[in-house]
């Protein structure tokens, strides 16, 4: 009984007790140092959270983060290894899914491509197309307009779209949307921001084209000259 309270306290504070015997003064010193560390951490977190109060107007990326990232960073780098839900799957898997995946919670990562398509007449929800990296498979994700606001770039020619991690319910044939195959987003997190990559004008790239067109036009001129001579 005398060691019971000590075991419980040590377990809470993360101390390895094991079979070794620890003297009471030493244990007391360890407890004091751990409590001090915990209080310091709590204060630091409190201070870090204070600026959040100023972001309640709904415009901040952090305010929309369903799972708050560290500091003011909307890119949550800790999301990828998370596996605390049913399926960590790929868009390619969902594009070839059978009934096994139907109505299951899944999580996919993909690039946002195309446009945000308004769903219905109200602006509460939008359709987003997520494209898998490395293959051509895509999936429609149904999400709130607040979640869509996290997207800074839609992928298209000359633009790499925002990489999103979307957790939600997959429907092979969605009963709410007339039988479409979709993903109803619940948690949307930005993995990496998009990027505009417009073509830069390079005169050298046009040289083969200019040469062939000039040669073709010269040949055409010769052809018409020969034809006129034959007539």
């Amino acid at each position: 009984m005398r060691t019971g309270w000590r075991t419980a306290a040590c377990a809470r504070l993360g101390l390895a007790l094991g079979p070794r015997r620890v003297s009471r003064p030493k244990l007391a010193r360890e407890l004091v140092s751990k409590l001090g560390l915990a209080m310091a951490l709590a204060m630091a977190l409190g201070l870090a959270g204070m600026p959040m109060l100023g972001c309640m107007d709904g415009r901040s990326d952090v305010a929309f983060a369903d799972e708050p990232a560290e500091g003011g960073n909307a890119v949550n780098t800790q999301q990828l290894p998370d596996s605390s839900f049913i399926y960590d799957t790929s868009i390619g898997d969902l594009a070839q899914a059978d009934s096994y995946y139907d109505n299951q919670t899944v999580q996919v990562v993909g690039e946002v491509v195309g446009d945000g398509i308004r769903s219905g007449l109200d602006d509460r929800h939008q359709w987003i197309t997520l494209s898998a990296e490395g293959d051509s498979s895509t999936i429609s994700a149904y999400m709130t307009s607040e979640q869509v606001m996290k997207i800074d770039t839609f992928g298209r020619y000359g633009a790499r779209g925002t990489m999103l991690q979307v957790r939600g319910t997959f429907h092979l044939v969605c009963p709410d949307h007339d039988g479409i195959s979709d993903l109803h987003a619940e948690v949307v997190t930005v993995v990496s921001r998009g990027e505009e990559m417009p073509d830069e004008f390079d005169a050298k790239a046009f040289v083969p084209g200019v040469v062939t067109v000039a040669a073709g036009l010269a040949m055409l001129g010769v052809f018409y000259w020969l034809r006129e001579r034959q007539r």
Partner: protein, 506 residues
């Protein structure tokens, strides 16, 4: 005795092919201008190069015979047959350079699919394709949908003397007006008018769903072209499903329906002869066929757990039926749903719809309602003859722009083409099966290619087996030319390749 090509024929054919290739250099200006306007400099360089190559190849072919003279029927068949594949090779240059194709054969597959208005695509990462490359894909639909020869004739490329034989060789025999060039111009005017109206409506709808103005306009234009020419390419990888808009689907269904009706009947309605439209054999066959097949399709869907509710059945089912019968190939369900969620019966019905296709003289592919109607009338005739007294002479008539009497020649032509289609569907299915695929998707894909339907299951994918890909290219090509032109061409080439037979005919 088989006809064969002489050296003179080859030179004349080469000259006229050169005319068409030169015309393709003009068509390539459209994506080039698009690229420059959208500041897409890499595609602009690719299209400039393709224009140059088309100019060089075109003029080189024309040098084969500087003064070619008039085309005869045999040469016209060859020009038409080769035009589709030669132009596809030229067209594949900029698309392959775009970096969106695994192999050059994939780019060629897409070009043949675009030209023949099949609509099957093996492109990679379509959602990042440039506006210029997309414009070119839909230009292929536009040229192929109206018919390369029709487009060329309407521009007067072949002059006034060589029109009729070329026009007939592209699977068309009906004239809206007596003059072939005027007929082709009329076809072009009707088509462009419908595409313009559809583009305006679809642009508005795309703006409503939240697309940017330029993207809304371009995608509306491309969808209208693809819908009316019953092509099937879409600017986004999710096809029509991408827009999540029932009004857009309704407009596209109407455009596809209009595109699947003969241009001759369009002209009759244009002239105010609406009764001719409703009495027509093709229209009556279409209504009967669609009524029966839609009921079967609905019954089959009812048996599935997923699509048995009414909204899903109406929205997804009706769209897919119209897309399949018009041989367009737009999809508002995923390929995965096609294979896993539809019942096998519904899957087969879609294949049958593509196999039969739309009206003759329209942009649709497949066997065509006119032939199905004539075969049905032939059966009626046979039964009447069996029941009639020996002294009676049985006459069976039908309406197709006026009253016509069913003759053995008409029935023979319809039966020949019908059998050729069915044999090609079967052979294509066997080729798919030989490549290790399941029977049902192999049949579906074969029908889709030969009928220029374009709804695909899982066989036509990027980097597929080259043998299968080449076979599908031939199927699309043969189906678009309704076999006779291509078979005649193949026989003539085979006969002509015998060196003993080479002689100057003229």
């Amino acid at each position: 005795m088989w006809q064969r090509f002489t050296l003179y024929d080859v030179r004349v054919i080469g000259h006229y092919l050169g005319v068409l290739v030169l015309f393709s250099s003009l068509a390539l200006l459209v994506p080039f201008v698009t690229a420059v306007a959208c500041q897409e400099w890499k595609p602009a360089a690719h299209y400039l190069l393709a224009i140059g190559v088309a100019l060089i190849v075109g003029v080189a072919l024309r040098f084969l015979r500087i003064e070619p003279g008039r085309l005869d029927r045999q040469q016209a068949l060859a020009v038409t047959g080769f035009a589709w594949i030669v132009l596809s090779f030229i067209a594949s240059i900029p698309l392959y350079l775009s970096g969106h194709y695994a192999t050059h054969l994939d780019a060629l597959f897409d070009c043949v699919s675009g030209m023949t208005t099949t609509g099957a695509s093996v492109i990679l990462d379509l959602d990042h394709l440039s506006n210029a490359d997309n414009m070119w894909r839909f230009m292929l639909h536009l040229m192929g949908g109206f018919g390369l020869i029709v487009v060329a004739l309407s521009f007067g490329l072949f002059g006034k003397r060589v029109g009729a034989s070329l026009y007939m060789s592209e699977g068309r025999s009906e004239h809206v007006v007596p003059n072939v060039v005027q007929t082709t111009q009329f076809i072009a005017k009707i088509g462009m008018g419908i595409i313009l109206v559809a583009t305006v409506i679809l642009t508005g709808l795309c703006l409503i769903i939240g697309m940017e103005p330029l993207r809304a306009f371009l995608q509306a234009l491309w969808l209208s072209v693809s819908g009316f020419t019953t092509g099937g390419f879409a600017p986004m990888s999710q096809s029509v499903m991408y827009y999540h808009s029932f009004p857009i689907e309704v407009v596209l269904m109407l455009v596809m329906l209009v595109g699947s009706i003969s241009f001759v009947l369009h002209a009759e309605v244009w002239k105010g002869r609406v009764a001719v439209f409703f009495r027509d054999l093709e229209i009556r066959t279409m209504v009967l066929w669609l009524a029966v097949v839609t009921c079967v399709f609905a019954a089959s869907l009812s048996a599935s757990a997923d699509f048995s509710n009414l909204p899903a059945m109406l929205r997804r089912g009706l769209f897919m039926v119209i897309s399949a019968f018009s041989t367009t190939g737009f999809q508002n369900i995923t390929t995965n749903q096609l294979e896993t969620s539809l019942t096998s019966g519904a899957f087969l019905v879609l294949a049958m719809l593509m196999a039969v296709g739309g009206s003759g003289g329209s942009t649709s592919g497949g066997i065509k309602f006119s032939r199905m109607g004539i075969i049905a009338k032939s059966m009626v005739s046979t039964i009447k003859e069996a029941l009639a007294p020996d002294s009676a002479r049985v006459v069976v008539a039908y309406n197709h722009v006026g009253r016509r009497v069913l003759t053995p020649d008409i029935v023979k032509e319809a039966m020949t083409v019908f059998i050729l289609y069915v044999v090609t569907y079967a052979v294509g299915a066997l080729v798919g099966i030989a490549h290790g695929f399941e029977a049902a998707p192999a049949i579906f894909e074969s029908v889709s290619m030969a009928s220029n339907g374009g709804i695909v299951s899982s066989l036509a994918t990027p980097g597929m087996a080259p043998t299968l890909e080449v076979f599908y290219i031939v199927q699309m090509w043969a189906g678009r030319l309704e076999f006779v032109t291509l078979i005649a061409l193949a026989v003539e080439i085979a006969v002509s390749l015998n060196p003993k037979k080479w002689m100057v005919r003229r």
